[in-house]
């Protein structure tokens, strides 16, 4: 019998199970876009049929990192920029878990940029939600990697001289097998995309546009948005990488010109996930490693029997 009976439980899941009854101390500002992510995430849990005990939500540091406080599940509020390495190892240790990583644009594209590139490259089977509000929220409004060029803040008084990061293109070129962008102001699409991302077998990157009314008042509320998959003007095939790259580039350019393009940019359901690749070459067990520690019948090997002959 599994030591993790919460996993795979067959019952109706109510989204309210994911709402803490205790009002968390960590509080987002009224009107914060982060509430949109929270809502969409909670709504998608019944869709994928997961309960709070089988979900591991790993966050970084930032306002976005406080997501855990509002979401009832196994949670790991880690350190700035490091949610991905923690999350992907947990998934390797127990692939039966639903593993979600989340953080801000500073967290994910700045300090954690290297991990983003490598997690996408390896195509870990997990979902990564980046709360993209084009600003550092928690540290009070500094310029972030997605702030537009010329963006003025207390630490960039003359305006940023840097071009913003292009997260969709970065995810694509790094090897993510699912790339989407949605917005807090678009709850229906957000729920749909998060559901699809979690069901996707591989690294699913969701750039989630969220507004920060406190520090980024100038920023658009990301309305009106256009869903590129539902609009004939943007005739493209998200399973074609070339198409996806063109579309992503277009969406990233036009965002800074006031046009908000959202939707699925790339879906590759053929590419094996990292864990499948690793199992195929014999570097990962078929059964979840974590289960083994609870299996009283498992015979643990000894180096004395396995390796000492080499040293005689």
């Amino acid at each position: 019998m599994s030591a993790f009976t919460a996993i795979g439980e067959d019952r109706e899941i109510d989204r309210e199970e994911f709402t803490p009854t205790l009002e968390p101390q960590a509080t987002w500002c009224p009107g914060c876009g982060d509430f949109g992510v929270l809502k969409a995430l909670k709504q998608s849990m019944p869709e994928i049929g997961r309960n709070p005990d089988e979900v591991l939500l790993v966050t970084g540091i930032g306002c976005s990192g406080k997501l855990n406080s509002y979401f009832e599940s196994y949670g790991y509020h880690s350190i700035h920029g490091r949610s991905l390495p923690i999350a992907r190892a947990a998934k390797l240790a127990n692939p039966d878990l639903e593993v979600i990583a989340a953080g801000g644009d500073g967290d994910g594209y700045g300090i954690g940029g290297n991990h983003f590139m490598h997690t996408a490259r390896e195509n870990h089977d997990m979902t990564y939600i980046v709360f993209n509000n084009e600003i550092f929220g928690l540290t009070k409004g500094q310029t972030s990697p997605t702030s537009p060029k010329g963006h003025k803040s207390k630490t960039q008084p003359h305006g940023s001289a840097k071009d913003p990061i292009r997260p969709l293109s970065l995810a694509l070129t790094s090897g993510a097998s699912y790339v989407a962008r949605t917005a807090a102001v678009n709850p229906n699409q957000a729920k749909e995309i998060l559901t699809e991302a979690m069901q996707h077998d591989g690294f699913a990157h969701v750039d989630f546009l969220t507004q920060c009314p406190t520090w980024n008042k100038d920023a658009r509320q990301y309305v009106p948005y256009i869903d590129v998959n539902d609009n004939d003007d943007y005739d493209f095939d998200p399973t074609d990488k070339g198409d996806a790259e063109r579309m992503a580039t277009e969406a990233e350019r036009s965002l800074y010109e006031g046009e908000v393009l959202t939707g699925r940019f790339y879906v590759d359901s053929e590419r094996p996930s990292y864990q499948e690749e690793k199992q195929a070459i014999g570097e990962m067990p078929e059964e979840p490693l974590a289960e083994r520690y609870f299996d009283d019948d498992y015979e643990w090997e000894r180096t004395h029997d396995m390796f000492l002959d080499r040293h005689k």
């Binding site: 968390p24 190892a89 004395h304």
Partner: protein
């Protein structure tokens, strides 16, 4: 130590097979019944450059490199002869011979390859041979190898020659070669081995009297390095996940684990950097797998933040720190023990981690197991601190030392049955961080367990894991986390993890930690033989510090010298800080030139300390006691 001990040094260019040849040499002598110990010296480059390995062998147990050496096999540096010659400075070509003569003992034996080395290029060679009573056997190893096989087999020719000169039975080498080599290269190698052996016996008149000592073992022995035993200890303790990024000398443990884990159904991950590596280990551990990561100085610096997170979140993990000489990139391939303070105090906040520093190859196995027991038993990060010397040296250990039960116990975790009974907060959140935990250890649940969900955070948090800045909560949780160290100290006191040397009663003490333990032991023996009254202690618990044991030891002696491989006396400093006294009793003998101590240096340092004289050797530094 007996009069007949062999201290054989093989020297050549990096990449010329010095390491594998010396390893086989040591193994052959071990199979012949001797105790062996190897010491490795290599520059920070891949091909070319001077490198050597010493194999010390005796019928009695050997625990250090010894003083100097008495038999040199100087192979040429083949790379120094290739077209890139201009890229070298100095006289690289003769280095395998010239560089090693300074430490060759009187009456020593020299075998060198005339095919690659020219003694005319070495200043005053003849005079020095005469003066030191060296016995020289020139041989064209290169030609022999080329005639009977391939030039790269020069090593085998050299081994055949020294075997003849020292009286070692070729059978052991043949067996080892047969075990390791494919047919097509085995044949010429065996031929070269015998040819050179017989030729040396026929053509030379032996003027030296150094012969390999005789010995026998009561039980089967294995030849292992500190890196091997750290890895094996981890595996036997149920570690099945490792994440790392290469950095010398930690790479050895990482490599051994990466090759072993897939065979055991475990997982190894080479990742983008050390921050990620440590974070992965935390993630795997959190999800219910025994996990480790590690690095050397610079890489460990990057792990500082995940280490703090492990402390605050009480995620068990073992981090290995393989010291090399610093600061910064320092001497990448040379040993030093100067990261002690780095490992004790890195990361923000008050440390509540465990730091263990094994002293020998055999002890590294035990301490590696202990590291996992403490980490998982107390939900706390444990750092296993060792250095390039211990990681790379090979020593024989009885195979029975490793004949123990595996232990995959996950430690302080709950089961689903226990979760049903356990206290929960609003929303069904499990009380992961209970105020009333016994010994401060509040058991964790594993994601996927029913009824066990909770929040881990690097922020201060309440019983359910929610971020909480209430002062009373803060103090309660701080005290609970810190109190685990008291329990661990008590547990360790019951294990007696420190190593005692010499007589129970003595006037003076030698104190050391980590890899210098064997050398200090040898020095203690020699000093007592010479009529001094000295005992020694090799300390392996750095945090929590063995207060009671050290107090007792230091109270029992009039004065003590702390022997360590760093410039600032970090372990002496720790001892004084932890015990709050003994400042007037403790002096330091330090070495930080990139080479480990030799026993004679410790003997000389000790004698100078009691005579109030300067240490004769320029390579070590004596710092007298500060006074209370």
């Amino acid at each position: 130590m007996t009069d007949h001990e062999l201290m054989w040094r093989i020297a050549g260019g990096s990449g010329d097979g010095i390491a594998s040849t010396s390893q086989n040499f040591a193994k052959a002598l071990m199979r012949a019944g001797l105790h062996v110990f190897t010491h490795r010296h290599y520059p920070s480059r891949i091909r070319g450059g001077h490198t050597y390995t010493e194999v010390r062998a005796d019928s009695e147990p050997v625990r250090s490199r010894g003083d100097g050496f008495n038999c040199l096999l100087a192979l040429g540096d083949s790379f120094a002869r290739n077209p890139q010659e201009d890229a070298y400075y100095g006289n690289e070509e003769v280095k395998p011979l010239a560089e090693n003569l300074d430490e060759l003992n009187e009456g020593g034996v020299i075998v060198y390859d005339t095919g690659l080395l020219d003694v005319d290029e070495i200043p005053n060679f003849e005079e020095r041979v005469e003066e030191n009573d060296w016995h020289v056997y020139p041989l064209n190893l290169r030609e022999i190898a080329r005639d009977h096989g391939r030039e790269v087999m020069r090593n085998t020719a050299g081994v055949g020659a020294t075997a003849a000169l020292l009286g070692i039975d070729l059978q052991y080498f043949e067996e080892l070669m047969a075990e390791a080599m494919p047919e097509e290269i085995l044949e010429p190698n065996v031929e070269i081995l015998h040819y050179t052996h017989d030729m040396v016996k026929e053509e030379f008149e032996f003027t030296h009297d150094l012969r390999v000592p005789e010995g026998s073992h009561d039980e089967e022995q294995v030849l292992l390095s500190g890196s091997d035993t750290i890895a094996y200890g981890a595996i036997d303790e149920g570690c099945r996940f490792i994440a790392g990024y290469p950095m010398t000398p930690w790479t050895e443990v990482f490599t051994i684990m990466s090759q072993a884990l897939p065979e055991l159904g475990g997982i190894s991950e080479q990742v983008e950097d050390e921050i990620a590596a440590a974070a992965l280990a935390l993630g795997a551990s959190h999800a219910g797998v025994k996990a480790m990561s590690g690095s050397s100085g610079g890489g460990f610096a990057l792990m500082s933040e995940p280490l703090g997170l492990a402390e605050m979140s009480e995620t068990p993990v073992v981090l290995v720190e393989a010291m090399r000489a610093g600061p910064s990139t320092g001497l990448p391939t040379k040993p030093e023990q100067a990261d002690l303070e780095h490992v004790l105090y890195t990361s923000q906040g008050d440390s509540n981690r465990v730091v263990l520093a094994p002293g020998t190859v055999a002890e590294a196995y035990e301490q590696s197991r202990l590291a996992f027991q403490l980490a998982y038993g107390y939900n706390i990060p444990v750092v296993l601190l060792y250095d390039q010397k211990l990681g790379g040296e090979l020593m024989n250990v009885p195979a029975s030392h490793f004949d123990r039960e595996p232990n995959a116990d996950l430690g302080a975790v709950t089961t689903e049955e226990e979760l049903e009974e356990a206290p929960h907060g609003p929303g069904g959140k499990f009380h992961r961080y209970r105020y009333d935990a016994e010994d401060g250890v509040s058991p964790r649940s594993i994601p996927g367990q029913k009824g066990g969900h909770f929040l881990v955070t690097g922020n201060e948090h309440n019983q359910a894991g929610h971020i909480d800045e209430d002062p009373t909560n803060r103090v309660t949780q701080m005290e609970r986390r810190m109190s685990k160290l008291d329990g661990i100290r008590e547990f360790l006191d019951g294990q007696s993890t420190q190593t005692y040397m010499g007589p129970d009663e003595a006037e003076y003490g030698l104190v050391t930690f980590g890899s210098q333990q064997g050398t200090v032991r040898e020095a203690v023996e020699r000093l007592n033989d010479a009529g001094h009254s000295v005992k020694g202690i090799g300390v392996s618990d750095m945090m929590p510090y063995p207060e009671a044991e050290m107090t007792e030891f230091l109270e029992s002696v009039d004065e003590a010298v702390v022997v360590e491989m760093n410039a600032s006396g970090q372990f002496r400093g720790l001892t004084q800080k932890e015990l709050g006294r003994f400042g007037g009793k403790l002096s330091s003998l330090l070495k930080y030139n990139g080479e480990p101590f030799e026993p004679a240096e410790i003997v000389a340092g000790f004698e100078a300390s009691i005579d109030g004289e300067d240490v004769p050797d320029q390579q070590t530094t004596y710092v007298p006691a500060a006074g209370d």
